[in-house]
Subunit: 274 residues, 2 copies
């Protein structure tokens, strides 16, 4: 007789997959964990596949063969995120978010674990069929978003520093021009923090002219890294001509009028169109 009942095993497997998204787990693991036969483990996975799809919790993918196994993709279609992005859009429209100087206060959202988890899931969704070795961001506000992207894809996070007080050995620095403010800034990345030739996804919280993302792209060249894409939580509508063109955003800030207390922000088209 099996040590655990089927519903116990299924509940446990859901928990294991939830904690290890995008990680290939072979059937032997479950056979040993529960002390069950291969056929039973296989049946469990089949049942769970249906459950996960029924509740729109993402999907289980089976890779056949000797090096095969099952992995859990914790995100489903973009449509299931619509109520969430609508809710965040309304929060972003609150005029009290306008900070003198034309800034938008978003820290409360980005630093809220539940919200940033979902933002991270949305930003990696378009790249699920791409091979990605690391998520690269630049300090500071992009870090929580980037970590949740990294968690969803089960790849390491890489953090570019804005100063050169890097205490991680030799590093590469570049100067870049902040596109909207035309200031010269610098960013640095420790040599050992990114393997040569990695495929990377760039993540940040906010993009105006795209100077920071462009700087990140230049820095990536120093590491022979291939930039698969770039994603930000909010991009501005203007300037129309950005310094980069291959990027996605969750929200588009169309207009912000400090004196009139107006924030005009929309959900990006690719999300609305599904």
């Amino acid at each position: 007789m099996d040590k655990y009942k089927r519903y116990e095993r299924l509940a446990a497997i859901v928990k294991i997959f939830s904690e290890n998204p995008n990680t290939l787990i072979n059937l032997e693991y479950f056979m040993n964990f529960f002390g069950i036969a291969k056929s039973t483990a296989s049946e469990d996975i089949d049942i769970l596949k249906n459950v996960i799809e029924k509740f729109n919790f993402g999907k289980l993918i089976t890779l056949p063969g000797a090096g095969g196994g099952v992995k859990y993709i914790p995100i489903s279609d973009i449509k299931s995120y619509l109520p969430f992005v609508e809710e965040i859009k309304e929060k972003l429209k609150d005029p009290s978010r306008i900070i003198p100087g034309g800034f938008l206060y978003t820290a409360d959202l980005i630093y809220s674990p539940n919200i940033v988890t979902k933002i991270g899931e949305i930003l990696v969704l378009p790249f699920l069929d791409k091979e990605i070795d690391a998520i690269v961001t630049v300090e500071t506000k992009g870090i929580p978003i980037a970590l949740m992207c990294a968690r969803t894809l089960n790849v390491p996070l890489v953090i570019i520093r804005k100063d050169s007080r890097v205490t991680e050995g030799s590093f590469v620095s570049i100067n870049y021009i902040s596109g909207s403010q035309r200031h010269i800034r610098s960013m640095s990345l420790a040599r050992r923090s990114l393997q040569k030739g990695s495929k990377v996804l760039l993540i940040d919280d906010f993009m105006k002219a795209g100077g920071t993302i462009k700087g990140m792209m230049e820095l990536m060249e120093e590491f022979d890294a291939e930039v698969v894409g770039a994603g930000v939580m909010i991009s501005t509508e203007k300037p129309e001509n950005k310094l980069v063109d291959n990027y996605i955003s969750v929200f588009v800030l169309k207009n912000m009028e400090e004196d009139k207390n107006i924030i005009d922000i929309e959900i990006s088209d690719w999300i609305l169109k599904g």
Copy 2:
């Protein structure tokens, strides 16, 4: 007849709790979600309670009454983390982590989603019975750890900046003395990022003399915040007299000899003693 089979509901509930740790969910939520009677929802929770404890996945806590419900604490006893901390300790002992100047390279661990998730869980474990309103950290390397602490407790993260390029409205700055290097540094926090009178847990990646944590404590006074405790991933054994005394760490760095390629690091006593 119920729309979903019991094993389907149980698997779905596990997923919902996993995504919403430390969040009170009432039975009505599950009754509506699955279209089931209160007694059935109640039975489901009871079954799940046993499953979660059987597999050492943490625990489900039922709060009775009108404002009651069930919440999931995703961490169990500290003993279950021992194999993990042993594994990380071995990784930390690798002499190639020694960086000239007496620094220890840890970014690969802190920026790895699976590892930092568990470090975050361990650091909040001693504070589970305390009321905590926010996790406070200082940029940069503490952020991933602090976010995972915040996620486990389902409270907001607050990030103190090391420069004053704060674009989040009015802010409070303090100067503090980096304890080991005796340099004057400054840290800043936007007024609106932390409510007056909050109860906070301070989190950072590394602590030598404790100057940074002490600076954070001083800054918290400016917000009338109550510091419930402090936790770091690694503390050093020396100096013995730290600038703060109320802190916990996961690892203690006893000795590091650059010329001899020796890193002597141990798991903290409170973890070993369980």
